[in-house]
Amino acid sequence: MTNPVSRREFMNLLGATFGTGALIRVGSALGMLPAVAALTRPVLAAPAPGAGTAVILGAGISGLTAAWELAKAGYDVTVLESSNRAGGRVMTLRSGDVVDEIGNRQVCEWDNEPHMYFNAGAARIPSTHRNLLSYCKELGVDLEVFINESKTALIQDDAMLDGKPIRNAEVSTNVRGFLGELFAKSFTTAQLDQPFTESEAETIMGLIRQFGSLDREMNYKGSNRAGYVSGGFIDHGVQKEIIEFKHLMKSRLISQTLSANEGETGPLLMQPVGGMDRIIAGFTRALGDRVKYKTPVMSVMVKEAGVEVAYLQDGVPQTITADYCFNCIPAHFMAGIEHNLPGDYMQAMKYIRRGEAIKGAFQARERFWEKEEIYGGISWTSAPIRQLWYPSHGIHKEKGVILAAYDFGNGGEFTRLSQAERVEWLLKGGEKLHSNYRQMVEKPITIAWHRMNHMLGCSARWGRSGGGMTMEEEGLYHTLQAPALGRHYMIGDQISFHGAWQESAILSAHWALADMDQRVRSAA
């Protein structure tokens, strides 16, 4: 007899095999659920007399968060933003907008309609990102559901089934069938009797059966979950044939398909109605003329009496002095800005590497995916475009904007291509999934975050070891998180363990505000 599996071990095993989704499902069946992140909205004390000014460098969402909270507390706030627009990596493209990529400027020529937009940076809001959601509520930003997974979307891999695309449901059903069978065989009721009561063991075997869509003998014989070839409503349905696991396992996309909808990108995700930059517009509306555009910061001097910031306005040098400074300028730019920040601060900044991320988009002449029973979600391919996203909004309208490529953390190769080469690269990838793709799409837009003006990267890379941060890296991180002379704070998702989420950027601002507030209160 092998060692009995404890409840915890069994849960871990389930989690490792099926992803967190299964863990949560079993967890709730057994009455255990994970906690949700805390809401950290600061309640700031009114400024100390004669110390009520703040300057915010960069109108990224972290800078806007800091500005808004400080303004509400009574601080006199100025936001300096080098671009003509606020939002940084929260960028929505619509008719007439400019993609300000260095050396590859593009103008968006899509139809001018409310649903014809593209979130070129941030696109998804998880239910657990409470702080971001609370700002959406406060600022009157309407939200709708974002569809990340569609069971009718496609999976295509040149290494699997001769490159023929299959439906997401065919992948998940057959993989689960295979794994469920395996699981049922390796965990007999007798074994489960040890750490579980009989009824608990029954619950678990039932779960496994459900999970895999197994028959009474705990065998997988195919399932209508994968869809019908024909019929099923008013005549007999013809079930799709099983795709054997030995074929599916040829593709790395299989685990991708299962894990892409777990954790932070698991349901339910949301998006602002009309584009992610509605959140930014909410902040800038609230802040009014406190936000200055096209005012690149040139120098940051932290002094005893305050922080002195030099910037350009219409090409003319200006300076502003403030009691506090919150800085979300990407750290890789700071070596190119005059400053007197401490040496260990700079050492930490220089350690961070610029990340890469690319996206592409087309206007579709018609919503061809709807003719293939797809109404949102993601199709995956082994082609370098990696994914197609069908819009969650504008269902049944004439046209739509389709995400034509998204590679987060890679894409250097794409970045180096000319625009014409990039477009061909997008078309070649899309054709793998939809044979009529080339005829269906027009008016390409490509986004290489590594080359976007005022940004030149996404997202800050702290870890070099492949895993999380090492002890040394964590040390550098804390150095950079701490204020310089109690006045200058670095903020942004770059000052977080969890880059590339707006929630992280907001939380970094909250951390800095709370630290400042504590200093203000203890001095009072």
Partner: protein, 209 residues
């Protein structure tokens, strides 16, 4: 600012026509070729995080030649020269007139002393190695326009280091039309290894500016 007119007719009209909330904040006169500071730092002081070298104080004739080289693909096409390949698309759309505009703009930037970042080299060991360089770049690394050799003193040390490596490895200076760069290739070859390069750059650091 040149190209102002072009921008007003094309792009701004586009953003005025779009109805979304951010449209109001999009100012007039949007586009010109004055992108340099994003990568080369405030007033062209150089930006290590982007590997964009110092432009403030760089000779206008040298900047012009390099912009023309990048534009023509004489420089910035070797795939191993990653920062160079990042520079090239920036130069491709430049007209002669915008190059003149840029030179005027860059010429207005004040030179401020460069930060020394390479501190573990042996300047004394680098001094004799610098002899080869001095012939063209001058004993004080002040540059020599007649020979087409730019000043080295005051340039970012990490940039000098990277370029010497590029010349030595043939990532720069090997294009058939890069006549000046071609002269650098055998010179860089006289530096045995990274340590020699580090030492000679450390010596250049002592020359100040």
């Amino acid at each position: 600012m040149i190209k102002k007119g072009v921008a007003v007719s094309g792009l701004v009209l586009g953003s005025l026509l779009s109805t979304h909330a951010l449209a109001q904040t999009e100012g007039a006169e949007y586009y010109n070729d004055r992108y340099c500071m994003t990568c080369h730092g405030a007033d062209g002081m150089g930006s290590e995080g982007i590997r964009g070298p110092r432009l403030a104080g760089m000779e206008p004739w040298y900047i012009k030649r390099q912009l023309e080289n990048f534009r023509a693909g004489v420089r910035g096409t070797h795939e191993m020269d990653v920062p160079g390949t990042e520079m090239r698309p920036m130069a491709v759309p430049l007209t002669d007139a915008s190059i003149t505009d840029l030179l005027e703009w860059i010429g207005g930037w004040e030179y401020k002393p460069t930060e020394i970042t390479l501190t573990n080299g042996d300047a004394a060991a680098g001094q004799p190695l610098y002899g080869t360089c001095a012939a063209c770049h001058g004993a004080e690394a002040q540059g020599n326009e007649a020979l087409g050799a730019p000043a080295l003193a005051g340039q970012n040390d990490w940039y000098l280091f990277a370029q010497l490596k590029n010349f030595k490895a043939g990532y720069r200076g090997t294009h058939a039309e890069d006549t000046y760069g071609a002269q650098m290739v055998p010179m860089a070859a006289t530096l045995a290894d990274d340590t020699a390069i580090l030492n000679v750059v450390s010596y250049i650091n002592t020359l100040g500016r």
